[in-house]
Symmetry: C2
Subunit: 345 residues, 2 copies
């Protein structure tokens, strides 16, 4: 099988290199091909998602992404919107047809003290957020600034709602069987359609799932004040952007959060943390999320759950033995990665 890696910007290259080392170890037959994305791609090809990268995806079985984007004051941020690093990411998601972003939020036993929440609230949290990734206000429809007025259109179709809801129901079947669908149906027509279609699909094909509907503002509260009430959360693109980042702080370090984006073709796997330009190039970034993303790649992208489990176990051990700075330890990227490699088998 072929895996395309897109290291990207900031600490992306360092953490991707670490993940690739681990990937090679547990799946030596995988062919790895590296390409450019984001600001790095703009610098050498004048666009954040160059044709060469797009072409390489054609026969890929999975894509491992680092991070994209520069510092706040980067000149990249004043480029026309379609040339900015983030546009490369949005174009990549679209090219791959990845409509379902999976974000597991798990508080590792013994690491509750890292959470900003009280330990009794953080303990045992195990949520899977499924974010729709191609539609809503992110879609390519009517969007413009016209004089003193700006517009964006939020749009969903039944087809888009159903395909991501299926992923959520399927995931819930492997978990505790509960799905919370999040919307703003008291205000938005788009949410009315969303709620109606998710419920209809459940009633038609997933009767064993316990489905409920909650408003996004209420979920923002409850995910902090009572996170254990959630199993799988499914929601539209913008709400998912906000809620998945919010939930990601519960375990206490973004350095621990992988993600998978699935669709009809090759899946996209990436740590959720940003490009952290302030520590880029110093060899001190925590590569755990990138390595765990490689684990998700093996599980969901290449259907190798044995290898994925191997990685998960090794990362859990390395986190205890060699905590990085963001976890209050002193291990650098190399030491942590070595720790994972040693803990494999």
């Amino acid at each position: 099988p072929k895996v395309v890696t897109l290291p990207g910007d900031g600490i992306g290259p360092e953490v991707t290199a670490a993940a690739v080392e681990v990937l090679r170890e547990v799946a030596p037959d995988v062919l790895i091909e590296e390409h450019l994305i984001g600001g790095a791609a703009y610098e050498s090809h004048g666009e954040p998602f160059p044709a060469r990268t797009r072409d390489a995806l054609g026969d890929a079985d999975a894509v491992l992404l680092g991070t994209v984007g520069g510092p706040q004051n980067s000149p990249w941020n004043s480029l026309p919107r379609n040339l900015r690093p983030e546009s490369g990411l949005l174009a990549l998601r679209k090219a791959l047809g990845c409509y379902a972003n999976l974000r597991p939020v798990r508080v590792q036993p013994g690491l509750e003290h890292l959470s900003p929440l009280k330990p009794e609230l953080a303990r045992g949290v195990d949520i899977l957020i499924v974010r729709e990734l191609l539609g809503g206000v992110y879609f390519d429809g009517d969007r413009k600034i016209e004089g003193d007025t700006a517009y964006n259109t939020m749009r969903y179709t039944t087809h888009e709602v159903e395909r991501v809801a299926k992923v959520a129901f399927w995931a819930a079947e492997q978990r505790r069987g509960r799905v919370t669908s999040v919307d703003k149906a008291n205000v938005l027509e788009v949410s009315e359609l969303w709620r109606r279609d998710v419920q209809a699909l459940r009633d038609r094909a997933y009767r064993s799932i316990h489905l409920n509907h909650e408003y996004v503002d209420s979920v923002a509260m409850l995910i902090v004040s009572n996170p254990s009430r959630y199993d799988v959360i499914v929601t539209e693109n913008l709400f998912g952007d906000i809620l998945s980042d919010l939930a990601a702080v519960i375990p206490g370090s973004l350095g621990l959060m992988p993600s998978a984006s699935l669709g009809d073709g090759a899946g996209l796997f990436e740590p959720i943390h940003g490009s952290a330009p302030d520590i880029a190039g110093q060899g001190i970034a925590n590569p755990a999320a990138a390595i765990m993303s490689a684990g998700m790649l093996l599980r969901h992208g290449l259907k190798r759950s044995e290898a994925a489990n191997q990685i998960d176990r090794a990362v859990a051990l390395a986190l205890r033995a060699h905590p990085t700075r963001d976890l209050g330890g002193t291990a650098d990227t190399e030491t942590f990665t070595r720790g994972v490699l040693d803990a494999l088998v």
Copy 2:
């Protein structure tokens, strides 16, 4: 001066009655006129914002609102959208022209233990969220369900952005002089306009304010992991809906959270908690937020800051002496209210 009260649904009538008692005590000359809104108005007039209520606002100096909305399974929720309780609230905001929703989030010294956050994170938090309340995806523009597709339009004009940003800058001048403007300018044109106009206004007329811009997903993280970094937050309607509710959990009880919505005419003052149908009519609801909203009404609506300070001090004392159930105490609505009245002077 004339104050219109709109008790609304659920615990609205109980907490509003408590707030009115306190209001009468500190401002005996105020004329109080009660009217219907929400589900209660629908039941007796067939609409959630009846003409009689609208007419009464004409010569009002301020409006004190309770809460609107029924339980999840209420038949109100299957009415056509324009007849639902929430539509009454949206119509009320519009009729009053209240474009700036002010939500103070303050952790009272000694009550840090109520927060879901670790006490060291909750301590000293003092944020003012200014939410734009009439525009964005809430505005009355293009919105429809057409077969299998639904649309909503997000819209902002420079005029709408500037008037709410002014409120934020003005508020920051009385506080620590820092404003964080929240958007999603890496994806949305509407946010690009927002960011541009907020910055231009600052550069033109509020040079003493320290302004920075952050993405909504990042703020959702930081408001939990590091809430003390914020002074005033200003943002558009939907982001404000989510972030203000999120921030509201930090003090530990929604029962402590008042709000003020200001515009060109009479201001609207209301507790942020919901109608809590499960405890409605039992006389056990915590009226602190409604009473504090009456305090904001005196301060911002009637410009009587002395009376407002009186209320704030009395509430702080009553919270210690007579905590209600949501605060781990046993006081009912009447006992707490009596406690506030006794602590006045």
